[in-house]
Amino acid sequence: MAAAVQPMHDGPGTPTSRWRHFFWDGVLPESLGLCFVIIILSGFAGTYLVAEYLWKQQVVGAQRAETEALAQTLAAALGTVAADEQETGATMLQACGTALEQWRGVHVRALRWTAPDGVLRFSWPPRVPLVAGVPTGTTPDAGAARSSVVTKADVHSRGGAAFGTLEVETTGGVAGARAFVLWNWGIAAAVTLVVFVGFYHRLRRHLRPMVAIERNLHSYASGVEQELLTLTLSESLGVPARGWNRLIEQLVDLQRRLQAAPAAGAAQNILERFESATFRRLVDRLPHGVLWVGENQCITYANAAGAAILGRPDGLVGAALAEVVDNPAVVQTAVAARARAASGLSVDHTRGSGEQESTLRFRAVALADQAGGGDVLITIEDISQLRESQRARDNFLYHVTHELRTPLTNIHAYAETLTKPGFDDEQTRKECYNVLISETQRLARLVEDILSISQMEVGTARFDVGDVDLLRLLRQMVQDNLGAADEKRIDLTLSLPPKVPKIRGDKQRLCVLLNNLIGNAIKYTREGGKVQVALEVAENCVRIGVTDTGIGIAPADQAHVFEKFYRAADDAVQAITGTGLGLALAQEVARLHGGEIHLQSELGQGSTFTVELPMPAAEHGPLAREPAEVTTR
């Protein structure tokens, strides 16, 4: 039994519940039982004293009334008799004293007739003095003294002559009545006390085990006692204590078994959790597949994702792992994990081909702490997208390095040439310097393009947004490309409407977009061809079209021309220097401006790239008032 009685920190909070707890939960009989008995006995004593006092007041009052009435009657009779003969009066009083010893509940104890001059005429009985009268030196009975009443009455004749004063002393039945009250009260108190003590003992016998259990629970909850065995109770507390002890024994036994077989206990615990509805829902909602594989390599449990990934929505429980996954390496991984009690062993399994190809990563975790046995948990992760991302990243790096090598090769070769004797003539040196400058610029542009597109793709690009005057921007772009068009005798024209609203955007990025489209059009248009740049204002957007009469794009290539580093395998395309970044960069700029680029092309006939940039109503702003113009080369 727990030795310590803990304060009830977490006991009832409200006053009502505290009092209820105090009385109802057995705290009173357990801790204050003796005090309560003392209070009860004190109550009995108090009630006795009050009852005796009230009774005494009533009895003495009645005695006094009777004594006064007797005194008046005797005085009247004595007045009548004493007028004739004084001795007759004494005789009468003598007779009355003897006769009226017991009269109407009172006892006449003494009579005393005193003449008007104060001379005692008669006293009965002669040897007993009046209490109120002259002391005789004799101690009266204590009980009688407490109930004595002395009353005086004047003695008159019928004629009005005064014959002195008559004093009558009576004693009542106070002592006897008091004993009666005491006996009755004592019997009632004794019966009440016996009943209470019996009830108290019975109540206490029932409440003691409950109080003890409650103490133990408080001790356990507060952390004072953590050993279950210390929480057992004495069997003498009765049936509740025995039941409590049985419960503690079962808990101790369960605890001992769990400690003896931790792995089996943990596995059983986890399995039970898996089987619970909550954990089943939780595990079923995991994006990764989860398989529970027993020692016989059969699946004991599979979550919904696992069944879906492995194409067995009807369930996997009971199936052999080798039957479900057509890859011996997966089974071997599970075996190895069990044999080594390892976690984190993984194997990738590729299935399908072409567009249906997917790669699954199986990770095996042994559940037993000791190698050589136990169940294995296998998680399945579809890493197809991860693989695709890695492939795209590798492809990107491959193309980047390839594109960087071309200008680097020129720079390296021409720089080395400058250092060699025999190449130091003025013309050769000038030629080398020119190539170095142009290739350095080419390298810088390439690096800038790669950085720009990478930053825009990951969202770290910095944009300087402001009002962009498209009329001015397009005229500048066309002007910048006039030289390249002139070299190939290409007719570069610009067609603009009279009014074009300014749009919100990054002017430099839009320059890159338009320059790439116009530059591509010139680059892939044969000599003597045409390139037309046109702008039109639609309801919610502006459209910038770049149309050329160039080599065109095959339908199979049209879906890929906006991919990074993509260049058509066509010889006509390959014959022209390019990185395959221009259109990808242009599309990214359009996308980040909320727009898009459309392509219409026919192989051998030419292409039209149309850029649509949004123009929200709030952004219409001041219209750029420009006259219609057509810039012709």
Binding site: R405, T406, E416, T428, E439, Q574
Partner: protein
């Protein structure tokens, strides 16, 4: 004086190689792509073939196949490529025992290599030339 056919689609590289080899006293012929080079080879054999791999039209690998089939390369073949890390290209080049110079390459190293091939003893065929281990920088 040996005849050297240089095939390269980058005009700057083509110009530089020609300049170096001419100053070494070689008779240099230029071609901007594989198709043009094949026509030149068909019309006239060469001592040394210096070619790029990635070219429009007929690429360098197809050009080497055609040259070997024609037997119109007398001394040796030098391949310039920036795709030496490409497995397929590497395997195909290895089977022909050609000399490979990864880009960026050293023009001096190329010039030395062409000189050594051009001065090889008569009767050496391109297939007998041991492939040189490419060096990342190609210097020297």
């Amino acid at each position: 004086m040996s005849r050297v056919l240089v095939v390269e689609d980058d005009p700057h590289i083509l110009r530089l190689i020609s300049m170096w080899l001419e100053r070494q006293g070689h008779d240099v012929r230029e071609a901007r792509n594989g198709l043009a080079a094949r026509e030149l080879l068909r019309a006239e054999p060469t001592d040394v073939l210096v070619t790029d791999v990635n070219m429009p039209g007929l690429d360098g690998l197809a050009l080497i196949e055609a040259a070997l089939a024609m037997g119109h390369v007398r001394r040796g073949i030098v391949v310039l490529t920036n795709r030496w890390d490409h497995g397929e290209i590497r395997d195909r080049l290895a089977q022909w025992h050609v000399h490979v110079l990864p880009k960026p390459f050293s023009p001096a190293r190329l010039s030395e290599l062409v000189d050594s091939l051009a001065t090889a003893k008569d009767g050496d065929s391109p297939s007998s030339v041991v492939a040189s281990e490419p060096r990342p920088s190609g210097s020297g």
